[in-house]
Assembly symmetry: D2
Homo-oligomer: 289 residues x 4
């Protein structure tokens, strides 16, 4: 985790658009001793004055676009910019001849033919970023659970559905908080690994009742009426998966259960940590050439 | 922890005043199958209609007053009552001939001579309640840390000052969240126990820098300018101790450090869990006769 | 993990050869309510009398061979048999028409052409068995560390080299024992995951000194003279990887460091748990058809 | 834990009798840079040649006697001495005018009137030593459990009886190994604290069956026939308390249960760590004057 600035020190970085994560990303690059310019971040606090995109592109040889690069395929994801930043051929043309990195870049790359000329890498395909984001999601989910329930995690029974990156991190941390944790999964290897963590392995068909918290990490329906109807109204459900998610919201509503939607936790709850993870992924990509 | 309702089932309970904890206390008693009346809780939701204090005292043989019973020695602590409830001889006279339990009861007992005639016990002297409250405080503090910092607990360096009930619970839980935890204490036995938990033992004179979070649990100054000046501005300090607390607020302010005051966390962050802890303490007192 | 006997109950099992793991495997199958015969386990205690292989094959429709099925490709791995069991065409011929399962079966399958006619599956390719075995290896390694060093794991600095299945389990458990754990790995994703577990991520080139225990899980040289020479003579090294292992034994010897060879821990330290894991893997294979 | 040698550096130490712990104690004092002589340790390896007691007492101003100082009240506890060292007036007379420290010193001090003239402190009354020894006992017990059972701690159900220093350490470490841990205790405060650690609180009257391991830490009968008869023969009981211990050995024997007696684990399993703990306690006593 150390010395990542070394190789990167020969670059001048441009950080363009995005949310607080990009602000912390820019600060982390500067803290490594590299020159960094920012653009489309006019409303951000604590950054040396943003420059026009032309200026940035004239000086920077590496440009970091946000995560996601675009939500709609028409504008840059840039909630801290002075105004909307349209994705057109003119925008794409700025980046020819530079190394450009961005996250979840499909809609961006489809927005203009000019992107075909750009040396582009999607840092959100780096496994270390996905792992780190999953840990931040788990921590943010625990924060949401503490804030959202009048009871405690400690001493309570928790269910995690799914044993991917986020589910794993939740199992470890919830148990570390002193909860009794069950985790629902399908693969035998996962059930064995769940047990090895000191948690209770459960098949999706065998979900019982009495949970104080349920954390869903699966993006398709795994918590339908039969499982939901076994829970008491004190149970708080936290949806962490992307739409449509794993919780039958209609059934939950009819049963009087509370569901908190908590998408995109790293950016909202831990923008500094999330920005530093992006910085590390960017450095690894640059180091690998 | 089981079957505590058994002996208690022969009592009719009155729950008077207090905050959400008293509401959950009343619900927990009812869930044990005991008759329970409430008073001075008119604004609470989800309770069967509160009755006048006279009615309650006419029927209940055990009365539970809040924690604290009174903040000012002049009125009952009753933020959910329709109006202020003065502590006078008339108030005290209601309780003669009943078993009355309340928390931090000094100001209440000093408010009227009539309390000398009442069979009163302070449940806040029960060690199991103090231990349980410390755990809720630690969990609430972790919630405050997650909510209050753009970085993460996981992977971060944390300092806990003090190794009493709250400090111990924090060491265990923060480590369980994947932090690197140091704990400052004075007694050699505590330093040994800190190390045994896998945390780093530190004397108060040897506090270093580089912490992302500092949790103070000591009610007198232990974090003065020399220790504070070693921290970066990214460090979040959380004050958990009662006034005056352990952090030199003036020095922290001059150094640009952020201090969050987080007193009375169990009642604010976990009123259900806190109310159930009070119920358990009350049951233990009744069982012991 | 439950009800695995259900589908299996329609089978008659034959358990042939192997060590204590096979004995516990046979007991676990019987505890599930299935008929089970054993052969080539004459010296085992607590088993209903072993039968000749012919008898077993006449009755059983599923036969479980040991892990490994053979060490030398010439005889069955059968340390508890009355005598050596040669692997020849006659041996293979017994199993035609049956479902046969064995572990690390390469040498066995190469021993006779007849195996081409047998419906054979290698259960050691089941991920749940590999995961479970890794956990048993980690626990056995901790037992070896406690038994082999006059100091304690608790409060000590430990290094784990490698972050595969065994390395992961060691990181979690050693930290759970109250150690300060570093883990050396190469991939950025692993370094991130190591940090997320609250352990210290280290590159192989950056291994420092001062460890009380070093656990190697990498089967090729990762601990050479430069890293070894930084350790004190109080450091105990435990080699868990298969030959040639990751520790330069010559350098360790010259430096006066102690290296414990601890291969095949699950079978030696936890034969019951290991046998039950094999049983589960066998049941999963049968359930999948 | 740092710099303890500083104040101690002005002393010349004599280390007399005892087992391997005293050897490591002497080495730790020497590593702090203090002169140290040894006596009654002739059979120990790796020590600079022991000197006669007269020589030692002529030079040392602080003398550390073993833990225990004497088992029988007639001879020094000195299994590594060339021969028995009788406790008579002549022995006591050596120590007049010196600071002498020993552990569990009752029988020693009763052995000769001359001890009344000696400046003596019992270091085994230091809480930090008792806490540290409890942790070593817990770790040694886990080692005994791993070595003594063909199943695993990980994923298994464990019962700890008693929630004193050793019970607390066992709860934390066993859970850290991935076990499901119940702990039996009597006091409500302990049951609350057990739950807060993520373990299951149990009253002594409510001990159920199905444990893989039972660790007793209570020195009087708490595991009698009713509780023992609920366990399967796979259950391993480990007795850690001093005689008579908490397990009804007769009942256990009739039920076919295995009981391992594991007294005095720190000295046997972790003499280095135990010796260093004694050294720290001695230094604290000297620092306090």
């Amino acid at each position: 985790m150390d010395g990542q600035g070394k190789n990167s020190a020969c670059h001048t970085f441009g950080v363009v658009g995005g949310d607080e994560r990009q602000v912390y990303l820019a600060r982390a690059i500067a803290a490594d001793g590299c020159p960094v310019l920012t653009s489309c971040l006019e409303k951000a606090e604590g950054l040396p004055g943003p420059v026009p995109l032309e200026t940035l592109c004239a000086q920077a040889d590496v440009v970091v676009l946000p995560l996601p690069a675009s939500r709609d395929g028409k504008t840059l994801y840039a909630p801290l910019a002075a105004g909307p930043v349209p994705l057109d051929e003119g925008f794409a043309a700025h980046f020819v001849g530079k190394r450009v990195l961005g996250g979840m870049a499909g809609p961006l790359l489809a927005s203009a033919a000019g992107w075909g000329q750009v040396d582009f890498k999607d840092y959100y395909q780096r496994e270390e970023l996905l792992v780190g984001n999953a840990v931040l999601t788990a921590e943010g989910a625990i924060g949401a659970a503490i804030a959202g329930h009048p009871g405690s995690i400690n001493g309570g029974r928790c269910l995690v559905t799914g044993f991917g990156r986020i589910g794993k991190a939740l199992c470890v941390m919830l148990r570390g908080m002193g909860a009794q944790v069950d985790c629902a999964a399908r693969k035998p290897r996962d059930l064995t690994a769940i047990k090895a963590l000191g948690c209770g392995p459960v098949g999706y068909g065998g979900i019982g009742g009495g949970y104080r918290f349920i954390f869903n990490t699966v993006p398709h329906l795994v918590l339908a009426a039969p499982a939901l109807s076994k829970q008491s109204r004190d149970c708080l459900l936290i949806e962490l998966a992307s739409a449509p998610g794993g919780i039958d919201l209609g059934a939950a509503g009819r049963l009087g259960l509370t569901v908190r939607q908590e998408p995109s936790l790293p950016g909202r709850a831990s923008p500094q940590a999330a920005g530093e993870l992006i910085k590390e992924a960017v450095c690894h990509i640059l180091e690998e050439g």
